[in-house]
Amino acid sequence: MALLGLAASVTAQYFAARAAIGFSTGLRHDFFAHIQTFSYADLDHFGTSTLITRITGDINQVQTGINLGLRLLLRSPFVVFGALIMASSIDPGSALVFGGVILILFLIVFGIILGTMPLQKKVRGGLDSVTAATRENLSGVRVIRAFVQEENQGARFNRLNRLLTKTQLLTGRLTAAMNPMTFLVLNAGIIILIHNGALKVDNGTLTQGQVIALYNYMGQILVELVKLANLIVTLTKSAACARRVNDILLTSSSQANSEVSLPERPVHLSFEDVSVRYNPTGDPSLEHVSFSAEPGETIGIIGGTGSGKTTLVSLIPRFYDASGGSVKLNGRDIREYSLASLRKAIGIVPQQAVLFRGTIRSNLLWRNPDAPEEELLEALDTAQASEMFDTKGQGLDEPVAQGGANFSGGQRQRLTIARALIGHPSVLILDDSSSALDYATDAALRRSLRALSWKPVTFIVSQRTASVRYADRILVLDDGMCIGQGTHEELLESCQVYREIHEAQQEMPSDKKGGTR
């Protein structure tokens, strides 16, 4: 009997473990894949930290909960109800006591679960903020040390950490009541049972042995429930975590997608009366912008800090959607194409030059995993990045640390430019991506971009007129409005803001006396 029990139990454990892990592995995959469908606005809304704790800590907790839950919940009810049935076969009257005890126990268990659930959610929230503080201190370590803020940051972390502990203790106070309460109720049941038993033995309806059996059944229920009570903390915690995970999974992307693929090159691109408002109540970030671009043309976008340059180019790969007007490719609104085909046609160099852990090669192969070696070298050449191999020893297989920390800002920037060129995109967007390059390199870069054989529509976002002066068309943005459009020469004539920017950059070098001190 015992051996049979062992075999059955081992099998049950195996399947419980398998089910829990299979579930959490699948869940983790779904979660990760689901985030890959979020729009930029969704990502802005949630923030990175909480997404990370949810996919790591929370899902682990769910896994533990399911595993323990399966192991116990599948066993305990059988024991409890088995005991109840056995008891009623001995003495239906005593079975009533059993029933009453079990009912009260259920009420206690569920009461405590319901009571702790919101607290557990709070605990996870506290853990989130501790995670965020840790991440922030790692990413901003240079600034924090430069400003000698270690102590303040440490104090802030300790405050959050203490707050977390306090919530945990509060939750603990409730869950700690579980065990003693079940103990109390069950033993009270035993007292009633024996008292009733004594009466019935006295009038001859029960024997001593049967009272002993009833007492043993109650004892078995006790054992199971104590185990269950110990688990309640884990289970409620898991439930709170599961809810947080579910919150994310229920959020569907705020961006509609379509199945229509964008045709191969060449592309004609046009903006028709486009406006963008990030916040329904705030000022628009872009207002009534219209222009068009033909294959091979270069569009320069210039304007002050916060004038809407990045917003404008973010519309093309649909990082955000226009709130008014439409962006068209080959005459169709870009929202009618599938996101994947749209983004595959666009090579983008973001402001922040970020590389991923791996090698130079693995980073370059992002846009097209099958790109031949010559194409990589050609792209590096165009991006003026070939010379850096002189100082870095291993060529394309040079390792890259997380975030590209082992490269200088300028080297990273040139690698991100090369990365965007692989796979010959039809639209190329350089979002202020030569800010870390010296003038000579910047000029050489622009020359080689103009000479690209596959003639992409190229957007150059910049603050320097030098970077955009040879563009076929330059848009001058100011506070979200397009206040000038034309070639360098035309704008010098017609647009005062452009002239000011240009003169600001020209005046100083021509003044060879050294200016005012």
């Binding site: 029990g5 062992l6 454990q13 473990a17 892990i21 592995t25 995959h29 990760f32 990175t48 996919i55 790591t56 800590g57 595993n67 995670t131 991440r135 790692l138 370590v141 240079r142 600034v143 430069a146 940051q153 502990t165 603990g172 065990n179 003693p180 103990f183 109390l184 035993i190 007292i191 008292h195 004594a198 006295d202 024997t207 001593q208 002993i212 054992v223 903390v233 916040n279 109540t281 705030g282 800090t305 990082f319 595959k344 973001p350 992002w366 850096m388 640390a401 082992n406 800002g409 300028g410 990365r419 870390a436 000579a440 910047d442 000029a443 603050q463 920017i501 600001a504 070098p509 050294g514």
Partner: protein
């Protein structure tokens, strides 16, 4: 390794040893009370012999005593629970705090070369798992051990022979548990390591999710993720399954114990030995209670193995070699004059690739030093060394004639204001972001600084002005706006030395021109190091250093360098030559 980890954990518990002792004591009391109950009930059953032969007054008295024991025991259990909670969460709080403090003391060399996701996973997930294990340990291990000892004593008092049967069978259960526990430690550790790897990947991918999307890398990163996820599933399954074997195995042994007790007990009763039916009932209940903790303890032990594996990873972090401490007699100069001297400085990131070799430089107080050169020439490295983010391999850097290594790092950095190309802002309101370097700054000072850096006008246009909350990574602020805030926070502090590494690279030219004036007055009388690609911004420098491959190849004023027709002249002309 394992023992060492346990020792470290105990060291963390020591400050609260009073709590731990109290918890043990309460456990003991609870166990005694709980164990009294079966005896009382056994005696009660002896009062119920048959029809008409029930000793009601005695039974009533016994049941009342049972009631008293139950109430007292429940109260004690609750109290113990509270104590254990406090013990666990406070211990864990200390460990997490120490880990965080240690991160602040780690050299940048360590932080730059370790994925931050892995560090986060250690401080958050590992500590959390450890807490779970520890709490289980306290609640179940303590009471388990006490129950075993208590039951043994009570059983001995009842009947030594049957107790012997029980004791003889116990080691079997222990051996099984021990064997499995030893096997699973390695598996749990593997699980924890793989989990760290996965967190690093998640941190990188989700941290740069926008980039991933821009490049349609969704499938590629998901594939990478799935690969690690699958490996994690495999080692999790192994660890979880093998650890869960403990419970059924010990339960199997326990069933044997129970049967043996019942058999010996029944034989003793039948042979008219010194055992009543009531005592046998108590005995069976003890046998059950005695073996139950073995079940629990074995369950706890596997949980503890997991906790230990996590704790080991946390201690690994806490043990990583910190920065060499500032010497005891380190100086804390305030308001430095700002004279910098680099004497025969050697430095490299990798020992086999020297970067800076024998660099000499003398900077008089109040001078503006501009550093130019192609990307990767060592400009940022030089700043890393001036700030002592990295330590030099040879030579000396002196501030006002004092070797910077004999100045406290904090004091050194308080004398230097830094604006980096990498705009990092903490999450917080605009006001908090600006007053980052001096939290006690007054409202007027903050606004004055923002006006000086020309950030005031855009801040005013934000939804809540200075109270607008900016999330991590600058939120929806443009790079330029972020950079303006970085400049503002230095404007607020104005230390004697300034380092501006591409401080205005993302700011539009018109704003930059306006800031230049503020910069000029800011730099007045302060030693400044300026790295910039727009040569126009550095023409007014007192000395321009032209660097290449870690060496200073030219040095002089703008006019001198132009006249020399060297590398600087070429660089300078290139910006007007398209």
């Amino acid at each position: 390794m394992n023992k060492e980890t346990v020792r470290r954990i105990l060291a963390y518990i020591r400050p609260r040893s009073a709590l731990a002792l109290l918890s043990l004591l309460l456990n003991l009391l609870t166990v005694v009370l709980t164990l009294l109950i079966p005896i009382l009930i056994g005696r009660g059953i002896d009062c119920i012999i048959g029809p008409g032969k029930v000793d009601f007054p005695r039974l009533k008295d016994l049941l009342l005593r049972v009631g008293g024991c139950i109430a007292a025991s429940a109260a004690l259990q609750w109290l113990t629970g509270l104590l254990n909670n406090r013990l666990t969460f406070c211990t864990v709080q200390d460990i997490r705090q120490d880990a965080f403090r240690h991160i602040q003391q780690l050299p940048l060399k360590y932080l730059d070369s370790h994925p931050s996701g892995d560090l986060v996973s250690r401080i958050i997930t590992d500590v959390d798992t450890f807490a779970d294990g520890l709490l289980m340990g306290f609640t179940q291990l303590f009471s388990g051990v006490m129950t075993i000892l208590g039951t043994l004593v009570f059983m001995l008092a009842l009947n030594p022979l049957i107790t012997l049967v029980v004791v003889v069978l116990t080691p079997v259960s222990l051996l099984v548990a021990r064997f499995i526990a030893r096997k699973t430690y390695g598996m749990f550790r593997e699980q924890s390591v793989t989990r760290g790897e996965q967190t690093a990947l998640i941190d990188e991918a989700l941290g740069n999710e926008k980039l991933v999307r821009a490049f349609c890398r969704e499938n590629a990163v998901t594939e990478q993720f799935d690969e690690v996820n699958k490996r994690l599933a495999a080692c999790s399954l192994k660890a979880t399954f093998f650890s869960s074997l403990v419970n059924p195995s010990t339960r199997f042994v326990n069933a044997l114990v129970y049967a043996a007790v019942a058999l010996t007990g029944a034989l003793t009763v039948l042979s008219g030995g010194a055992l009543t039916v009531g005592s046998l009932t108590s005995f069976l209940s003890y046998a059950n209670q005695y073996t139950k903790p073995f079940n629990e303890i074995s369950g706890v032990i596997t949980e503890l193995q997991n906790a230990l594996a996590c704790a080991a990873r946390i201690f690994e972090l806490i043990d990583a070699e910190p920065l060499t401490a500032d010497p005891e007699d380190a100086l804390s100069p305030e308001g430095a004059e700002g004279r910098f001297a680099l004497e025969h400085v050697f430095f490299s990131y990798h020992p086999d690739r020297p970067l800076i070799t024998d660099l000499n430089l003398n900077v008089m107080p109040g001078r503006r030093i501009a550093i130019v050169g192609p990307t990767g020439c060592g400009k940022t490295t030089l700043i890393n060394l001036l700030m002592r983010f990295y330590e030099i391999d040879g030579g000396a850097i002196r501030l006002d004639g004092t070797d910077t290594r004999s100045i406290r790092r904090e004091a050194l950095r308080r004398n230097i204001g830094m604006v980096l190309q990498d705009t990092w802002l903490p999450a917080g309101t605009v006001r908090e972001i600006i007053s980052f370097g001096c939290p006690e700054a007054a409202e007027e000072e903050i606004i004055a600084a923002a006006k000086a850096s020309h950030a005031h006008s855009f801040i005013r246009r934000l939804p809540k002005g200075y109270d607008t909350f900016i999330p991590e990574n600058g939120g929806s602020l443009s790079r330029g706006q972020q950079q303006l805030l970085c400049i503002t926070r230095v404007m607020l502090r104005l230390p004697p030395v300034l380092i501006l590494d591409e401080a205005t690279s993302s700011i539009d030219v018109r704003t930059e021109q306006r800031i230049q004036k503020a910069f000029a007055s800011m730099m007045e009388g302060r030693t400044s190091f300026i790295v910039a690609h727009r040569l126009s911004t550095i023409r007014n420098a007192d000395t321009i250093l032209v660097m290449r491959n870690g060496d200073v190849i030219e040095q002089g004023t703008h006019e001198e360098l132009l006249a020399a027709e060297g590398a600087y002249a070429v660089l300078y002309r290139s910006q007007f030559d398209h």
